[in-house]
């Protein structure tokens, strides 16, 4: 018995050894980031970085774009998914496949033609270009549809008998029953929108429209030897999502592992 205990103890120590080692590798870059940001000027590095370029503006732009994008996705995706999941109509399966097929093609593949389309619409260098194309999200439609299909039809029939319209049924019955999916969709789209880089880099030019990631990338090029300022800027750009993550950590991890999607 003693031997067995010692063996399990050794086993668990070995496990923790490797896990801690992994944890150090994961955390160390963040610790170095914060540490460097506090060198020489201390906290004043943060003030200097924040005022050297209009980071406040970048934050507001990002916040604005993220909020509208997420709101748009919630409306358009839940409506579309509701029709895919509950209604019968001509071309439904075709349209669903059409939607899904766009997920097969990675965004860089159609970036250049997207730019041309935006240019024709006169949307280059506008908030429209940052927001409108991302106000729907096929993956979110897919998640909503999968969930809506699990809601029993009898519920719908009962509601119709009570004189409830289709839209009202979505609003009063379906959506309240879909809170976990709604949270997943919101989190995915917040993270995606907040971290998106290639698209805003391409479709906007003026500093007024810069979002955080693009602003940070330019700041990196302009201040390439000013490491204290760069690390301060990286820290305050990272903090909002890290805080969000720490608060809803379980939700985010569960959402990622359940639906398996990245960026």
């Amino acid at each position: 018995m003693m031997l067995l205990n010692r063996r399990t103890a050794v086993k668990s120590i070995t496990k923790h050894f490797f896990l801690i080692l992994g944890g150090i590798v994961m955390l160390l870059p963040f610790l170095w980031m914060v540490n460097t940001s506090l060198q020489q000027g201390g906290l004043s590095n943060y003030v200097e970085a924040w005022t050297k370029v209009p980071f406040g503006r970048y934050f507001l732009n990002t916040l604005f774009v993220t909020l509208l994008t997420v709101a748009g996705v919630l409306v358009t995706a839940s409506l579309a998914a509701y029709s895919f999941a509950t209604m019968k109509y001509k071309g439904r399966n075709f349209l669903f496949l059409l939607f899904l097929s766009t997920m097969m093609v990675p965004q860089p593949v159609y970036l250049a033609p997207s730019y041309v389309i935006l240019a024709k619409l006169g949307w280059i260098n506008t908030y429209m270009a940052l927001i409108i194309p991302w106000t729907t999200n096929v993956f979110s439609i897919f998640l909503f549809r999968q969930h809506f299909k699990t809601i029993p039809k009898t519920l719908y029939e009962a509601a119709i008998l009570d004189g409830c319209g289709r839209l009202k049924y979505l609003w009063k019955v379906v959506l309240p029953l879909s809170k976990p999916v709604i949270v997943t969709v919101i989190l995915f789209n917040i993270i995606g929108s907040w971290n998106s880089f290639m698209w805003p880099l391409v479709v906007t030019h003026s500093e007024n429209l810069r979002v955080l990631q693009v602003g940070l990338s330019y700041f990196n090029q302009e201040q390439s030897s000013n490491f204290e300022l760069l690390m301060a800027a990286s820290t305050f750009s990272t903090i909002p999502l890290v805080i969000l993550f720490l608060f809803v950590q379980k939700r985010i991890v569960a959402s990622y592992s359940r639906s398996g999607i990245k960026d």
Partner: protein
Amino acid sequence: MKIRTKLGPYFYILPALIIVLVFRTLPILSSFTASFTDYDIGGFHGFVGFANYARMLSDARFWQSVLNTVFFVLGVVPAGLLIPLFLAMLLRRKLAGKSFYRTIYFLPVVTSAVAISVVWTWLYNPEAGPINQIITALGGEPLLWLREPRGIFEMMLSPLGIHPKGVLAGPSLALVSLMMVSVWKSTGYNTVLFLAGLENIDETYYEAAKLDGAGAWGTFRHITWPLLSPTTYYVLIMSTIVSFKTFALVYVMTPPPGGGPLGTTNVMVFYLFQKAFDRFDIGYASAISVFLFLILLSLTIAQRRIAGRRVYYS
């Protein structure tokens, strides 16, 4: 009233449909047609047949980007599979601090690629960066990291008097530095996927194996690995696609023009980005996009054929 019910479903789908059509389907189809045209900053100059594709064949920079991308994928995908699998194996079962570890591993996943790249550029900095400081403190030779164009095999073998050239020299240390960041960033995500896969395996299999006196390796080889194969397969396909799409890391850590020292971190998406938005050579950039898409498509099909057959669905 009747018309309303007939048209009803389309009203629900319309907002999403318009956006999908205008900002997904249309540009996707356009990238195919644009690849057969001469389209530059001055606008559309007519169809040119396969000229853009012919130009790709003789464009050394393009083939360099293909080779760099292949190096990148071949390095990142296996490492991004084995390390997370190992960590997930350690994390399964009840373990003190399990969710604490998971939180830490997941932190790089939610952090933006740009911020991560800025931080790692500093860590890799040859003069003052912490990595070289540690190496020198331990008595080692500092390295150039992101600024090192020499292939890693060349660097490892040249002290022995062997000097591999070309492809055999391997990816540059600069590219390998990017690969390490990419693995670091995706480890937490893949670990969580593997963890979910492991937790789906029925405990009775392990009890039976224990009764049969199977050792740790035998249990892994004959139970865990086959039963985990759907997850492994999924991680394999996802990481391949993500690695092919790599852009932000390259763009921020080895900024344009150039794509790293001697173009050794110039990967395909970076190259097509430069063609499209620095030169505004939309026709040529589209041909590269189509090539990229076809590679991804055939890889997905091939993986489904080869690996898919071995996937064991319980």
